[in-house]
């Protein structure tokens, strides 16, 4: 790229781009030396326990903390009135969505601790600060809160019924926004010309992201310097700082340092400003002590943002040969009790613009009502809006194929955007820069032996099982995001990324990035980029991330952006290093700068045998004796703020094959085959790992995970791992992952598209399409997630007469011979 042209092919540099380099970060994790927030020990620290509402909706009529305040070990107890007395602000949403009529969405106040009313089970009502956590919990029992319970509403569609309880007085009808996108008239017209219309109602279930590290916060206030340090397990330290300072605590940003060291998984749920981050920063100053808080897992269920929870009606218009003519989608998105940091953007701009999918559907219209309920706030989770879009589109296609008697793969092939049509402008705005959708579909269908499906179904039937295969073709707008695109759609945040490459006098390089790895292996991959582009030995590159005091700025790691945007920033910073290095080299080698070229870490002058390594240039830059000081500054340290010109569009096809035991309803995954286009692959090992994990999360939603609220009381019934089913090793098969690199991203210097969310975006759909394929043979054509055993059995029971009748021995030997006969999973 640019000045860094290389004769070498990608993948040929040792530890460079395209190599499965083993991860730098592994050793510390494997030795138990990771540094997670809860591992910090600060002298003088006190512990915080957050008292939470047991009611879904209630007025706080009185709150007496006097006894708790005098309990053993208690430092202080802070409540909503203290917060108001201190004149502090509310937690903002960083996307302002507009209604159909152009007015702005409702933004009711979200205080970090309830001031007069609680709106969900888990809403914070008091903060107990004590010498030990046990003492804080003991004191919490002494706080007397009197509630006047109010009627609660937990389901999105219920919240917009005329008589629904009102969650916020300043959000009439519980409506946050009523938003639309697309050309309604053109879509109506397409439907009026349709040969066939497929209609479908689906629920995209509510789930809890549940990274294995519970959120953790440590706050320190230095009263001499009037400075704060906030250690927090976040994906996005600068965002936390900006929102905390500007909107909430009203303190200047240079007085606050946010540090996020090792983060034990994020998946989107750690990219928000949370009430606890506010409360601890506030408490640290109030009580003059370092304070710490780590969620119990049960608390995670009540205080981490939940995800998805869309109720959607979709319609697909087709002509007689199965060509898609139009698509219209109407969604009620449950936002929970308050707007979380990103929440308004998720069902709208993060979701609906992706409804074109991989297809040429010419007319699309979507509308989304965002509604408040008495539930935990809902926000981003891996894929964030795109899995929801994929789900309705791909479910509709399968339904249409069934209704019209068309083959599911063939109807998709017929409607794919051809690679020759790239760049392709979809009707909803996104412009796909590159992609060969047909190639991924064919690869996956071939690897999954789609042709042999009928035979396998027959074989399964003989064993008393229902076999199904599901296809999902996904595409996602990633590499977030062009700042201008954010602004146009109501974003109050930029989308660029920052990278700084600082050469040290010895030739080693420190890379500062505003992205933040919480499992993705940036320390490894970013070093690969620097090694590849600048010829610095892999071991001589170190990444610094997750610290606002050390990194100029950043937008963290969300939306599969780190390689595409953060990596591109590194490349451009590297180009600037090379440009400066050439001028230094030209001066020292006494040649024209135009005659200096850079390759393999060396500056050479054409026509001479003069050569300087980049390490020698770095040395010269920091010891500028023989140096063009009249032309430039000493030092070799370049920074880039890279604002992408477009989103990237990772795409591919996922195919799931499974078997249902009709006697129990248990679904067993047999194969999961994917073919992806992520553009250029920087580290195949890591990319495969990202895909595996992403698939598992999609499978989790499809088969296991779901949030259940009691509709009357608003109590969370799935409040721990005892009732919320996490995918375990025995629930999953090994995955068959392949990719092609023939359609690199055209607008960033690495050609990468991003791989972090892809697995999740298509997987739930592939599983559910497979479940329905298996059950359609007995007349079941619809079911919502999760396809848990009891729900599958119930769906099948309606069609009992058509069930296959296995022989007694076939059914009884369904176990694998283990006498424990663990029927689940065998």
């Amino acid at each position: 790229m640019g000045t860094m042209t290389s004769k070498r092919e990608s993948g040929t540099v040792p530890n460079g781009i395209g190599r499965s380099v083993k991860r730098t970060e592994d050793a510390r994790f494997l030795l138990g030396k990771g540094r997670y927030t809860d591992d910090l020990r600060i002298p003088g620290q006190a512990y915080i326990y957050v008292v939470r509402s047991p009611h879904a909706h209630a007025n706080i009529t009185s709150l007496d903390a006097s006894e708790a305040k005098s309990a053993s070990g208690v430092v202080d107890v802070l409540i909503g009135s203290d917060y108001l007395d201190d004149g502090l602000g509310t937690l903002p949403c960083i996307w302002q969505v507009r209604n159909k009529n152009g007015s702005v969405m409702a933004e009711p106040a979200r205080y970090p601790v309830a001031v007069d009313r609680v709106r969900y089970v888990g809403d914070a009502v008091a903060v107990v600060i004590a010498e030990t956590l046990d003492q804080a919990k003991d004191a919490a029992d002494l706080i007397v809160v009197e509630y006047e319970p109010l009627a609660a509403v937990v389901a999105g569609p219920d919240a917009i019924m005329p008589q629904a309880p009102i969650v916020h007085n300043d959000a009439p009808g519980n409506l946050c926004f009523d938003w639309e996108i697309g050309n309604r008239a053109a879509t109506e017209d397409a439907f009026s010309r349709a040969h066939h219309i497929t209609r479908l109602d689906v629920i995209n279930s509510r789930i809890v992201p549940n990274p294995m590290e519970p959120r953790s916060v440590v706050a320190i206030y230095d009263d001499i310097a009037d400075e704060y340090t906030l250690h927090t397990s976040t994906q996005n330290p600068h965002l936390v700082r900006s929102l905390l300072c500007k909107s909430v605590l009203r303190i200047p940003e240079h007085k606050v340092r946010v540090v996020s060291a090792d983060v034990g998984g994020g998946f989107g749920v750690k990219c928000h400003l949370y009430p606890e981050e506010v409360l601890l920063t506030w408490a640290a100053r109030r009580c003059g002590r370092p304070v710490r808080w780590t969620a119990d897992r049960s608390e995670t269920f009540l205080s981490d943002a939940h995800a998805r929870d869309h109720v959607t009606h979709g319609e697909l218009a087709l002509d007689s040969d199965g060509t898609f003519l139009g698509l219209r989608v109407s969604t009620v998105a449950n936002l929970g009790a308050y707007l979380s940091t990103w929440s308004a953007s998720i069902p709208t701009y993060a979701s609906a613009p992706n409804l074109a999918g991989q297809y040429t559907t010419p007319a699309i219209y979507a509308e989304v009502k965002g509604v408040f309920t008495n539930t935990v706030p809902v926000d981003a989770y891996r894929g964030a809006g795109r899995p929801e879009a994929n789900y309705i589109v791909e479910r509709l296609i399968d339904a249409a194929a069934r209704e019209m008697g068309l083959d599911r793969v063939e109807i998709r092939r017929r409607n794919l955007v051809p690679s020759a049509a790239m760049p392709y402008a979809t009707p909803l705005g996104p412009v796909y820069d590159s992609g060969d959708f047909r190639k991924c579909l064919d690869m996956a269908a071939g690897n999954a032996d789609y042709e042999g499906l009928a035979e396998r179904k027959q074989d399964a039937l003989r064993r008393g099982k229902l076999l199904g295969l599901g296809v999902s073709c996904y595409i996602e707008a990633c590499g977030v995001s062009p700042s201008r695109a954010n602004g146009i759609s109501g974003g109050r945040i930029g989308g660029f990324e920052m990278a700084e490459i600082r050469f040290n006098p010895d030739g080693s390089a420190t890379v500062f990035s505003g992205t933040h790895s919480h499992g993705q292996g940036h320390e490894t991959v970013f070093a690969q980029i620097v090694t590849d582009k600048l010829g610095v030995p892999f071991e001589s590159v170190m990444l610094v991330q997750g610290d606002t005091a050390r990194i100029a700025f950043g937008h963290g790691t969300v939306g599969s952006r780190s390689a595409a945007v953060g990596g591109s920033a590194i490349v451009v910073a590297g180009e600037r290093i090379v440009a400066k290095g050439k001028r230094i080299a030209a001066h020292i080698m006494e040649v024209d700068v135009e005659d200096v070229h850079f390759e393999d870490g060396e500056f050479r002058s054409r026509g001479t045998n003069k050569v300087m390594t980049i390490a020698e240039i770095a040395h010269a830059a920091y010891l500028p004796i023989n140096y063009p000081l009249d032309q430039m500054d000493p030092g070799l340290d370049e920074i880039c703020f890279y604002d992408p010109t477009n989103f990237t569009f990772p795409n591919g096809t996922q195919i799931c094959e499974l078997e249902i035991d009709p006697q129990t309803g248990h679904v067993e995954l047999k194969r999961f085959v994917v073919a992806d286009d992520f553009g250029r692959i920087l580290n195949p090992m890591i990319v495969h790992g990202q895909v595996h994990g992403g698939i598992a999360q999609g499978v989790g939603q499809a088969l296991l995970e779901t949030v259940v609220y009691d509709a009357d009381s608003g109590q969370l019934l799935t409040g721990s791992f005892m009732d919320y089913a996490m995918p375990r090793s025995c629930d999953l098969p090994s995955f068959e992952v392949s990719y092609h690199e023939d359609s690199p991203c055209t607008h960033n210097p690495l050609g990468v598209k991003g791989c972090g969310e892809a697995g999740t975006i298509g997987a739930a759909t592939a599983v559910m399409n497979a479940v329905l394929d298996a059950m359609s043979s007995v007349g079941v054509d619809h079911m919502d997630m999760p396809a848990s055993p009891s729900r599958v059995w119930r769906a099948l029971r309606a069609a009992t007469s058509k069930l296959p009748r296995p022989t007694a021995s076939a059914s009884a030997t369904a176990g694998n011979g283990n006498q424990v006969g663990n029927a689940h999973g065998e």
């Binding site: 083993k22 030795l31 138990g32 030396k33 590290e213 994020g266 090994s734 999973g825």
Partner: protein, 170 residues
């Protein structure tokens, strides 16, 4: 009320006065400052806190320090020896069996017991026998691969003799 608990941790003899309600996980993290053992849930499901107690994998969040009195504990910090990784640790690095690293400590300790105690492991049995550990990042694919690779190393020699050549880089 304070009582004394006395045990061996990674070969080191340890005595501390603690409240009886002190969990073994808390004892390790807060009293001994050994934060390699993680706590990922409060219902004894996730296995992040797994350590070996006299060679048995146990969830240290579901055991009082007092119940470990007189035992020998091995934690993630005690697996490597002489600057070399334990075969399970090495297999995790080789096969990308970890991403965020949080479940890894407990996962590795659980697998150490698995490969030490079980013969004839295959993919199906490994998947079945790892159900006490939850990982959210990897989808288990590479964990299973790493486990089978480590089991192979075990089969071809004793654990003590097979500490791998993977040099520690931290």
């Amino acid at each position: 009320m304070a009582n004394k608990v006395s045990l061996t941790v990674n070969g080191r003899s340890v005595q501390r006065e603690v409240e009886p309600r002190t969990l073994l996980a808390t004892f390790l993290r807060e009293h001994l400052g050994m934060t390699g053992t993680h706590i990922g849930c409060d219902t004894s499901q996730c296995g992040c806190c797994t350590v070996l107690v006299d060679g048995d994998a146990v969830k240290s969040c579901t055991m009082f320090a007092f119940q470990a009195n007189g035992t020998s504990i091995t934690t993630i910090e005690g697996l490597a020896s002489d600057g070399r990784m334990h075969p399970v640790q090495a297999a995790f690095q080789e096969h990308h069996g970890l991403q965020c690293g949080f479940c890894t400590s407990g996962m590795v300790m659980s697998i150490v017991e698995l490969v030490e105690k079980y013969d004839g492991l295959d993919e199906a049995s490994v998947r079945e026998l790892l159900d006490g550990n939850i990982c959210r990042c990897t989808g288990y694919h590479n964990i299973v691969k790493a486990t089978l690779a480590a089991a192979d190393v075990y089969r071809s020699g004793s654990a003590a003799a097979t500490h791998t050549d993977t040099l520690l880089r931290s």
